[in-house]
């Protein structure tokens, strides 16, 4: 579904601030893969997701989505294939627009937007059902501005928006990191349900190692803009946190393990 061929990205090249954030990184996701990504601060995890999303052009390499080369496609065109949820709950929704309007914007991702009504009555009914499934009571507040929602409610809504049109790939960048533990648990549960329901191919960054182990069928660890560990299948299923720390130290040197423990 996703194929990254030796992609590289350096920020501020040729200056004293030059940072190599992605270093000829290759990664292939099969259809239906749910991959968790871990790594220390500055390992390049967010840069990886943003490169796939097209937030900035990459310096080299190729990005293929469902067999199609999207390396040169601008961000808004690539969005047709992607669902995204960000770390900051503010980033995923338009705060001055209503819940149903936000959903309607997402429902038209990748479609031509014309002069038909922005939200129809029929789709409102559909949203009511989907919102009720989240179990947060949002179905009763469809006309409320999303700026009034709590962080957890916004992340849940953003998740729903990301999956409203079946994306080829779901990109989650620490989308529970800004929430309190209980809310984070709930949002993660919604994530699991939605991914399962739509059989989504997913790339999820997390700082929580327990989550990284518990979620998905594959686990990838990054350091210095590269993938230093890639576990899947039985190997991933049997993984424990202490196991993981050990493997990290072996794979990326002691330094990596320390960075992870700190973060």
């Amino acid at each position: 579904m996703l194929e990254l061929r030796e992609i590289s990205k350096t920020f501020h090249p040729g200056t004293v601030n030059a940072r190599r954030a992605l270093d000829r990184l290759s990664l292939t996701l099969a259809d239906g893969d749910f991959v968790t990504v871990i790594g220390g601060n500055g390992a390049g995890k967010s840069t990886l997701l943003n490169a796939v999303a097209g937030t900035f052009p990459i310096d080299g390499g190729q990005i293929l989505l469902g067999g199609q080369d999207v390396t040169r496609l601008p961000e808004h065109r690539r969005a047709a294939f992607l669902g995204r949820v960000f770390q900051d709950p503010m980033m995923g929704t338009a705060p001055t627009m209503q819940i149903d309007e936000n959903l309607a914007l997402a429902a038209r991702r990748g479609q031509r937007r014309g002069l038909k009504w922005g939200v129809t009555r029929v789709e409102r009914e559909r949203y009511r059902v989907l919102l009720a499934e989240l179990g947060l009571g949002l179905e009763a507040r469809m006309r409320a501005k999303t700026g009034l929602l709590s962080g957890g409610q916004r992340q849940a809504l953003t998740l729903l928006m990301a999956t409203l049109r079946q994306p080829k790939l779901l990109l989650l960048d620490e989308h529970t990191a800004a929430l309190d533990p209980k809310t984070a648990e709930k949002v993660l549960e919604i994530t699991r349900e939605l991914v399962e329901k739509h059989r989504l191919t997913t790339l999820m960054i997390t700082h929580n190692m327990k989550d990284a182990i518990a979620c998905g069928n594959r686990l990838v660890m990054m350091d210095g803009g590269r993938i230093v560990l890639d576990l899947s299948g039985e190997e991933k299923r049997r993984l424990t946190v202490s196991d993981l720390l050990e493997r990290f130290s072996a794979a990326g040197g002691k330094e990596v393990g320390d960075k992870l423990l700190l973060s």
Binding site: M91, T93, A94, L105, A106, Q111, R113, G114, K116, G118
Partner: protein
């Protein structure tokens, strides 16, 4: 008594002028509040609209056609600013200033090299004219002004409810989210700027007819008057008017109130030359009120977080 008598006498004029500036203020509302950019093109596009309209009517064109062409010219100005901003990466404010400056020369060309071109209501069938503002007749400019405003607010309400209009609103509310939902933010920004400047130039065309002349300087400070109208409307009505059409209506009412208050302070003896200073001061104060309110609330003991 004399004060109120002459105020009453001046009231229809203030209302009519406020309504025509209200058209302009709705344009400013679109960029300032919906797109979240401060677009300084408007000072130039207002005069551009006036110039195009006056010159076309003088050469025998129908006033409605002249109005449409004026709006079209304003849209071109908006396109210019939009492309400078989105394609050339020039900050929106600077892009607006560049277009505005360029328009000064363009407007002088349109006005045949003169700073001012008169348009007599005796010779041409104008849509609105100051002369009839106190008459109870079909010529009264307030009637077409009301009709135009109603059409405008209705049309914009419809547009911003459509898929395309919603996309433009999303870009102003959260550009990153808009891109993630597949919206071309650059195109939406250009669209918004074109729409706004089209309205502003249309207002310029109406104002030129109303005053009976187009002046190359007629747009000076227009952005501040537009902002004043937006802010007055918000301060007075933001708690009651939540509907989008009503928000636009409150901007128009803001413009009318602005001209009524202006009339009052002028009659109280304010020097006309000091008007712009007063307007700028009022806008500056109202724009800073929310910021100061937050700051004061935060510094109160026990009221919000403090620095460690």
């Amino acid at each position: 008594m004399n004060f109120f008598g002459s105020l009453l006498n001046a009231l229809p004029g203030a209302v009519a002028q406020g309504m025509l500036w209200g058209v302009m203020a709705v344009g400013v509302f679109l960029t300032f509040r919906i797109l979240d950019v401060a677009d300084l093109t408007v000072d130039g596009s207002l005069a551009c609209g006036g110039a195009v309209c006056v010159m076309m009517i003088r050469s025998g064109a129908d006033p409605w056609l002249a109005l449409a062409c004026a709006a079209g010219a304003g849209m071109l100005a908006g396109l210019c600013t939009g492309l400078l901003h989105t394609r050339c990466g020039i900050p929106a404010i600077l892009a607006g200033i560049l277009t505005q400056l360029a328009l000064y020369s363009v407007n002088l060309r349109i006005l045949d090299g003169k700073a001012n071109q008169p348009l007599s209501v005796d010779k041409y069938p104008l849509l609105v004219s100051q002369r009839y503002v106190r008459e109870l007749s079909a010529h009264n400019p307030i009637l077409p002004a009301v009709a135009i405003l109603a059409l405008l607010v209705g049309g914009l309400y419809w547009y911003f409810g459509t898929e395309r209009g919603c996309a433009v609103r999303a870009v102003g509310a959260n550009a990153g989210m808009a891109r993630a939902q597949g919206i071309d933010t650059r195109r939406a920004t250009v669209t918004g700027l074109m729409l706004s400047n089209g309205l502003v130039a249309g207002a310029g065309a109406l104002l030129a007819q109303y005053q009976g002349a187009a002046d190359v300087n007629m747009g000076r400070g227009a952005i501040v008057i537009g902002l004043a109208a937006v802010i007055i409307g918000e301060v007075l009505f933001s708690r009651v008017f939540r509907n989008f059409a009503l928000k636009m209506a409150s901007v128009v009412i803001g413009a009318i109130l602005y001209y009524i208050v202006l009339q009052i302070v002028l009659q109280m003896g304010l020097n006309t030359n000091d008007l712009k200073l007063l307007t700028a001061a009022v806008v500056a104060v109202f724009l800073s009120v929310p910021v100061w309110k937050d700051r004061l609330l935060q510094n109160k003991p026990g009221g919000g977080k403090r620095h460690a």
